[in-house]
């Protein structure tokens, strides 16, 4: 504390994507201005800043994929592209006066709980600080995952990941290998297919793809939404309501999803005429088990003569030859990994050291576990936005983020009510109970029974990412912080009286 100027803030928010900016807005609205938003890059936007690959767009309608407190009547399309979403977040930053709180180029290196002072010691790329409360809004889709492929180092060409697109590298006339068939890959394939000489798609598991009802939102609609905000709200409400009704099929009655599979198969049959390719593109698991993808251009692109589909994963690389796990070989000048992100092993977890001196990653080595998606046992005054089991298979994550912001708001309110130097730490019993119930409900969901391996499941096959219910239910259970689920930590008393341990007795 002596030599360096030590900055202390009430709250440190990590990340400036939807989660981090939302948290900042929420804190300001609650009258808390003593906070910083730590961002590793030099602009806001998070996932919507990092992912700028060709064709990048959100597969949730924009009128639903936006903050309820920052409506945008000007969305250009039903499913707006990444540039518009990023611009929206920049605008939110300005509208809500968040700029003074932003600390760019401040990647968080470590977080350590100080049990004496009851605050977090935060080491960042731009210097240290301390904070009473840390809000980790680092997002599940932020750190790219590149599989460990033997011989990849020997590849002479360009290697990149969908979330780190190099716009200076020209793919025109190149032989490109696309690894993966997830949400990013199916947007990249149709976007680059007309330009590249040859496109080889390595497909470990085919996705279910449904038509995307995308269209330009007309000037008349925009005008109406601007003049009559209730029409915009109604549009959002409709988009939300439809998705709420879908949930029970995913979580309780996966068999009801059969007709949707029929739609998806028809969608493919319209574009793909080759029976062999059709066979290769038809999934063998229940629709919904992996994320359902929306695209009108993916299948037509695959049917083009310059596209090869290898129905196998990439096994190894020998020079510029890519070898599939089925033995097939393909030559390439560039490899694009559309292999997703570190989701079930949240990278920030390795950098957070809790009250017991262990890191969050160590605590979570058998799978992530939190209380109401927000707090973890042994990590006082630490909240995650989009924490464990808060993901969605079919609706807008912004709804979940806003529910978690309610929880954050109540958490701050409770700290203020309790008063003084105080910290709230989730009781291990409460965390256990929450997760026991979650996993029990998870048993019959399509994600666990659909017969696939997905990024929703962790290394042990446990679903620690998806919320097995509706968004309104999540909103209901995160409305308030239940103090019975928390231990109140107070600064250790200096001298004399050793506090007598009081076993909580339950007499009959």
């Amino acid at each position: 504390m002596a030599e360096r100027e030590h900055k202390h803030v009430r709250v440190a928010v990590i990340g400036s994507g939807f989660g981090g900016l939302g948290a900042a807005v929420r804190l300001r609205r609650q009258g808390i201005t003593d906070f910083v938003v730590l961002e590793r890059a030099d602009s806001v936007g998070g996932t919507w800043r990092d992912n700028s690959y060709p064709g990048c767009a959100c597969d949730v309608p924009s009128h639903l994929y936006s903050f309820s407190f920052a409506p945008n009547p000007q969305w250009p399309r039903n499913f707006s592209g990444q540039p518009h979403i990023r611009a929206y977040l920049e605008r939110v930053t300005d509208t809500f006066g968040l700029r003074p709180h932003l600390r760019f180029n401040s990647e968080v290196h470590s977080l350590r709980w100080n049990g004496e002072e009851l605050h977090w010691e935060v080491e960042t790329a731009s210097g240290p600080l301390t904070a009473d409360v840390v809000v980790s809004a680092t997002g599940p889709l932020s750190d790219p995952k590149v599989p460990d492929i033997p011989g990849l180092d020997s590849f002479p060409g360009k290697v990149s990941h969908s979330a780190r697109w190099d716009h200076d590298y020209d793919l025109r006339g190149k032989r490109v290998a696309m690894i993966g068939t997830g949400a990013s890959a199916i947007q990249i394939v149709p976007a680059i297919q007309p330009d590249v000489e040859r496109l080889t798609l390595f497909q470990r598991t085919p996705p279910w793809v449904l038509p995307r009802a995308d269209r330009k939102i007309s000037a008349a609609e925009k005008w109406l939404h601007t003049k009559l905000p209730v029409t915009r709200a109604a549009r959002r409400g409709l988009l939300w309501g439809i998705r709420e009704l879908q949930v029970s099929a995913f979580t309780k009655r996966p068999n009801e999803l059969g007709p949707i599979e029929y739609l998806a198969k028809n969608h493919m049959k319209k574009a793909v005429k080759d029976p062999a390719l059709r066979a290769a593109l038809t999934p063998d698991y229940r629709i919904g088990c992996k994320r359902i993808l929306l695209s009108n251009t993916y299948y037509p692109a695959l049917a083009q003569p310059n596209v090869d589909v290898v129905a196998a994963g990439l096994k190894e690389v020998r020079g510029s030859t890519l070898v599939g796990s089925d033995g097939s070989e393909a030559e390439a000048d560039a490899i694009v990994f559309g292999t997703g992100f570190h989701v079930t092993d949240m990278p920030i977890a390795q950098r957070v050291t809790g009250a017991d001196g262990t890191t969050l990653a160590e605590e979570w080595k058998d799978g992530m576990e939190s209380l109401r998606g927000a707090t973890a046992a042994g990590f006082p005054n630490f909240l995650t936005i989009i924490g464990p089991n808060t993901g969605l298979g079919n609706s807008s994550m912004i709804l979940m983020i806003e529910a978690q912001l309610n929880y954050l708001g109540d958490f701050m309110r409770q700290l203020d009510i309790l008063g003084g130097k105080i910290a709230l730490s989730a009781r291990p019993s409460a965390v256990k109970e929450w997760n026991r119930k979650l996993q029990q409900r998870m048993e019959r969901t399509v994600w666990n029974t659909g017969g696939c391996d997905s990024w929703y499941l962790d290394a042990n096959g446990r679903n620690t990412t998806v919320w097995p219910g509706t968004t309104s239910e999540f909103k209901k259970v995160t409305r308030q912080v239940d103090l019975a689920e928390y231990e109140v930590l107070r600064p250790p008393r200096k001298p004399v009286t050793a506090p007598v341990a009081a076993p909580a007795e339950v007499a009959a």
């Binding site: 019975a484 109140v488 007795e505």
Partner: protein, 328 residues
């Protein structure tokens, strides 16, 4: 003190005759009626009753404790024999003022006590958490069937599914000025449903009903309004004396969740006693459990200077003292 107390006059739920009664003046000049039971030099217990109740509510507990404890009970402002203050006099702050005033008036200089509160009486203790007089006087505390915040949303008298619905319904109930009318069988059934466990006896229900119906509707509504907007969790967090919590598992008015929250937040919680099947009126539904817990707190935390646990029972209960103030 003009109003005639309406409580049962015989049986275990009839209030015993106090050794002394006094009139205490609170910080804002409000007059409070207080009773002292039991031997003078015995360890002291001070009890604060809840919403729409009165000193009579503690009758069975006082009967049990008064043999070997000095028991102080008082009527919260507007209740029983304490006159109602003006509209501005209804706040948790005033409740704390009153408790502190009673402690100062009823206890000898330097004398300490175990302080117990039921429902709004528990809230009184929470509200007084930071008062130096309470910290000085209270050796331990008992929070009995009470809650610190969010009463309208958590109550289950109207078991609506949505929290907003519950909040609205219970706010209306708490603030209602509707007269309760005479103690009829229907009124008793309603009271039993809202506040007592399924196993409570006719005698217990009768005793509760007589007490609750005696509370004027205006007083009920004004204090109900205070309860509807309650926020005393901060007080619980600063209640530094050893504190025990008691609650009935079938309490609809202040469900168990409140007790669990308070146990979680208390700096020095000495256990949460869950009484299975009991409702909100625990001191009447199971006086033994409540007085037993108070007894244990006295045993563990209250040392009477100069005497052992066996306090001299020289003065028989009822022996009149000169100190008695006129309370006509």
């Amino acid at each position: 003190m003009s109003r005639r107390p309406a409580h049962v006059t015989s049986g275990p739920y009839a209030p015993p005759v106090p050794r002394t009664t006094l009139t205490v003046t609170s910080a804002d000049g409000a007059r409070l009626y207080a009773e002292i039971h039991g031997p003078e030099h015995a360890p002291a217990v001070v009890l604060a009753h809840g919403w729409t109740c009165s000193t009579a509510f503690w009758a069975p507990v006082v009967r049990d404790l008064a043999a070997d404890h000095k028991v102080v009970v008082y009527d919260q402002r507007g209740h029983g024999r304490s006159p109602a203050p003006g509209p501005a006099g209804h706040s948790t702050h005033a409740l704390a003022d009153d408790l502190v005033a009673v402690l100062e008036a009823a206890l000898e200089p330097g004398e300490r006590a175990v302080v117990g509160g039921h429902s709004m009486g528990g809230m009184t203790i929470m509200a007084a958490a930071e008062r130096p007089q309470l910290r000085e006087r209270a050796a331990a505390a008992l929070l009995c069937s009470t809650g610190s915040a969010d009463l309208p949303a958590e109550s289950r008298v109207f078991a609506l599914r949505s929290p907003q619905g519950r909040r609205l319904a219970h706010r209306l109930m708490l603030r209602s000025r509707a007269p309760l009318g005479p103690v009829s069988p229907l009124a008793k059934r309603a009271l039993k449903y809202a506040t007592m466990g399924a196993g409570s006896t006719a005698e217990q229900i009768e005793a509760c009903a007589r007490i609750v119906h005696a509370c004027p509707a205006g007083v009920r509504a004004r204090w109900g309004n205070v309860l509807a907007g309650l926020e005393l969790t901060g007080g619980v967090s600063k209640l530094e004396m050893p504190t025990a919590v008691i609650a009935g598992t079938a309490d609809r008015l202040t469900p168990l969740v409140h007790a669990r929250r308070m146990a979680s937040v208390l700096p020095d919680c000495r256990g949460l006693t869950e009484l299975p099947g009991l409702g909100h009126m625990t001191p009447i539904e199971d006086p033994g459990a409540v007085s037993g817990r108070l007894r244990a707190l006295v045993q563990d935390h209250l040392r009477v200077p100069g005497t052992d646990a066996a306090a001299a029972p020289a003065e028989a209960p009822g022996g009149k003292r000169q100190k008695k103030e006129k309370t006509a």
